[in-house]
């Protein structure tokens, strides 16, 4: 069965690059295509968020199909917040039938953060259960309940890790559990506190986890001081040290400084043993991704026949 492009890149040992798109609050195909066009050819696969921060947006699978039609490989995010195991397994089959191969498993931000705060949070499965469910569907050709799938399922399973959440000492063990459950690749929360990320990677290497799954480091280019402050104060599980805020504060051209910080971080990350790539989350600032990739020496992207 044919592997996803992301899988090929990661397995080739090349330093992988993924991007991210947030679907619009509308059914406008052109909007999705416009944002995606900046990423075409610059990254190996593009994450499509699943109602991120519990805000209702166009479905990640639908957007995945739209960018697939443009020749861009999607990486569909699935959270446990909105669907039970029946809906999730059905959607995974549907996504695969549409040609989507990468699926990223997340727990999902609590609904109280979003624009439907009265919603029931489903959480039938937790994110680790979700990973093992997908693995079972793929490797054993079986649904969670034991029913057999009528044909093999071809998916590449991703998970997230947040080295900046607490309790810090436990984080690496949670990663180990995700890999044990079946995660093939990992994308981390955006890194700003490099020192903490390095400490976490040390623990990852000590347990040999970087040899069991491909670990990609998260990058968010900061567009403005306001954006940085907002994330520092309002985004759960995000740590932005003061020295980053100060750097932006001192800069004349905030955007240029934000890009510079991102490029420097990528260059540094490339030198850390066990990191297999970067995941660049420039949601609503996709147009900057080509420049960051160029300056960080990530282009051209490898191709496979």
């Amino acid at each position: 069965m044919s592997k996803s492009n992301l899988q090929k890149v990661l397995e080739s040992g090349a330093f992988a690059v993924t991007g991210e798109l947030g679907p619009p609050k509308s059914a406008e195909r052109e909007v999705i295509e416009h944002h995606a066009s900046y990423l075409n050819g610059k990254v190996d696969s593009v994450n499509i968020t699943d109602n991120q921060t519990a805000i209702v947006r166009t479905s990640s699978i639908a957007c995945g199909k739209i960018i697939l039609d443009m020749g861009i490989e999607p990486n569909i995010q699935i959270t446990c917040r909105d669907r039970n195991r029946i809906a999730i397994q059905s959607d995974v089959l549907g996504a695969a039938a549409l040609g989507i191969k990468n699926i990223l498993c997340l727990q999902g931000d609590h609904a109280t953060f979003g624009n439907e705060p009265q919603a029931k949070n489903v959480n039938d499965l937790d994110s680790i259960n979700l990973i093992s469910t997908l693995k079972k569907m793929r490797d054993e050709q079986e649904l969670l309940g034991g029913d057999k799938l009528e044909a093999p399922l071809n998916i590449y399973i991703g998970a997230v890790a947040n080295p900046f959440a607490d309790p810090f000492e436990y984080r690496v063990h949670r990663l180990a559990k995700k890999i044990e459950a079946g995660a093939d690749f990992i994308q981390t929360q955006a890194i700003f506190d490099m020192e903490r990320f390095e400490r976490w990677m040390e623990q990852v290497r000590a347990l040999g986890l970087h040899k069991k799954a491909h670990i990609m480091a998260g990058i968010i280019p900061l567009k403005s001081l306001g954006a940085a402050r907002y994330m520092k104060n309002n985004v759960s599980g995000m740590l932005i040290p003061d020295h980053i805020i100060d750097r932006l504060k001192g800069a004349k051209d905030k955007k240029a400084e934000g890009v510079k910080i991102a490029v420097e971080m990528i260059e540094h990350i490339k030198t850390i043993e066990g990191v297999a790539g970067v995941h660049i989350m420039a949601v609503a600032w996709e147009e900057i991704v080509p420049e960051i990739c160029e300056r960080a020496g990530l282009l051209p992207r490898p191709t496979f026949d």
Partner: protein, 222 residues
């Protein structure tokens, strides 16, 4: 215990508007302890209700009474006379008590005067905390007495989500992250191994998700 909060008076006033003879019925168990629906609250509610009605210039006859336990038929008999002479009963018991009343005194309507909030405990004076969801399959042995189903906002089974910071839940700084507490406790007893293995998806059929539950004990059945 079962914790509840009395409904706002305005809501109760509106619910009993069509009735003249009203009985406010308290319960002597959990809701007495959580200061929401015991004898004192029944008297206070009755008084407030009659003052409000009098102010509005409408006649009313409000009585209050409290039974030892509203969730069992045998304790309800003592209130029969008062229930029968009333047009309507407002129960200050939990939802279980309200339903027991409606089943026992079928001919009479008993309305809820309380919002039943959760199963929990007082953590300090005036503060109650939810800590059990009654899922029907207890995991407290593994998590050393801290329930991830009730106390984690996402009912996670395999450790903390990425939103846990400084021991607090991503939902609110006022909520402790249950998983942070569990991990601290496991470390204290050197039992992190309890959660080392991937826990399979939960069987929710033993909880309310499987439909209303019934417990049948053949050994004590008559």
């Amino acid at each position: 215990m079962i914790v509840g909060e009395r409904k706002p008076l305005a809501e109760i006033i509106k619910a009993v508007e069509p009735y003249e003879k009203i009985l406010i019925l308290g319960c002597g168990e959990c809701v007495t302890v959580c200061l929401a629906g015991g004898d004192r609250e029944a008297r206070e509610t009755a008084l407030a209700l009659s003052i409000a009605r009098q102010k509005a210039g409408k006649s009313v006859q409000v009585k209050s009474h409290t039974v030892e336990r509203q969730c069992e038929y045998e304790y309800l008999e003592s209130a029969r006379e008062l229930v029968e002479e009333a047009d309507v009963v407002v129960s200050l018991a939990c939802g279980v008590g309200v339903q027991t009343m409606n089943m026992y005194f079928e001919q009479k309507q008993t309305l809820p005067g309380l919002n039943t909030t959760f199963m929990g405990m007082p953590v300090k004076q005036g503060v109650w905390m939810e800590n059990c969801l009654g899922c029907g399959d207890c995991v407290l042995e593994e998590t050393l007495g801290i329930c991830p189903i009730a106390r984690c906002a996402k009912s996670m089974l395999n450790g903390p989500c990425g939103g846990s910071q400084d021991g607090k839940c991503e939902v609110s700084k006022d909520i402790d992250c249950a998983w942070h507490l569990i991990i601290e406790r496991l470390m204290r007893f050197n039992k992190l191994d309890n959660i080392a293995e991937v826990k399979p998806p939960k069987d929710w059929s033993t909880s309310h998700h499987g439909g209303p539950r019934k417990t049948i004990r053949e050994d004590v059945k008559l």
